[in-house]
């Protein structure tokens, strides 16, 4: 499965990629902001893990842009962010996010959420 990790922090991208590899997801592409990520969404990405607060294009705008692409209308999207207020969560849901993880996270939580959103006829987190 090909995954896309989007975060402006090089440290966080390393940590997320390492966590994905530890649970069996070896094929990972990285992007530093929403605009860079959209350019890499060519229909082959099967799972997206994105940050919210990024320069150039933030995570919310990226998700909306991704959902507008026919080939990614149903691609599972996991938002990994420090934002925790309910208004933010509502915005994420309305944009099309499939699940939501707070930073700092553990690989166990990441695996749980990925398993949930990839499960057949999966619902929310």
């Amino acid at each position: 499965m090909k995954c896309l990790v989007v975060d402006d922090s090089a440290t966080m991208r390393r940590i997320v990629v390492n966590a994905l590899k530890s649970i069996g997801y070896e094929n990972v592409v990285e992007a530093a902001d929403g605009s860079d990520a959209l350019q890499k969404c060519d229909g082959t990405i099967e799972l997206v893990i994105t940050d919210w607060n990024m320069p150039v294009m933030g995570g919310l705008d990226f998700v909306k842009g991704l959902r507008a692409l026919p080939q990614h209308a149903k691609t599972p999207i996991l938002m990994v962010t420090t934002r925790s207020v309910k208004e933010d969560i509502l915005q994420a849901v309305e944009a099309g996010v499939s699940s939501y993880i707070l930073k700092p996270f553990t690989p166990q939580v990441l695996k749980e959420k990925i398993d949930q959103i990839l499960a057949p006829a999966s619902g929310s987190a």
């Binding site: 975060d7 402006d8 922090s9 090089a10 440290t11 966080m12 390393r14 940590i15 390492n18 966590a19 530890s22 919210w52 607060n53 990024m54 320069p55 933030g58 962010t81 420090t82 934002r83 925790s84 207020v85 309910k86 208004e87 969560i89 509502l90 994420a92 849901v93 309305e94 699940s99 939501y100 993880i101 707070l102 930073k103 700092p104 996270f105 553990t106 690989p107 939580v109 619902g123 929310s124 987190a125």
Partner: protein, 243 residues
Amino acid sequence: MDAAQVKALATELEITLGLVGELIGELQGHAEAWTGSVRLRQLVDRLAARPNLGVLPAVLLRAHADISGILGGIRLTREAIEAHTVQRIRDTKEKLSDVTTTTESATLELLDGLDRSLELINSLEAEAQGASRAGGYQSLREQVSALYNHLQFQDITAQQLQGVGQALLDLETRVAAVAALFDQALHGGPGSALLQYIETASSADLSYNPEATMNRTRADQAMVDEAFRGARHGAVSPGTARS
């Protein structure tokens, strides 16, 4: 109006008042020629009774000199504010950016070291050829992975520092605006236009979250999960309590 113009006006005023004084003297010296006019007699008497008319130009010149001194002091204060306070705030913001850059570099190096540690563990495990040590290598691998994840602190603190940096930028802009108000006091012009600009300029979208924190627990994730489920089913409305 500069000092030369003020002095010219004061001189003209002095001359004019001198002429008025002469006119009053002439009128008083030839009172028998116009005593029929009551109103004229009243005006002459009132003008002659003004005690400070003659010293008015000197008083005005002295006041102008005092005001010029005060304005000069205000100008020095403005320059001092700009030279010291604004520059120090700017320097502090740059130092915060340096801290973020340095910690990110150091964290990436730590991650490199941990990657090498994990590779070493894998090599040692392959060479061990014994099930009795398998649990130990797995435990060591988990400890290293835990260290790996703890380094998320760098992203959190970078966002917190960006929040502090933005607060410093706002402070710098406001202090500069206060300094500029002194200039407006010297040369006239709109008062709060710059401060109004600051208020609107500080509300732009952020590439960081100033509320970022390392203090997240499993319970916080559970609350987020509940809110997410509620939002998916339309049960959460904007304005409800923060998690």
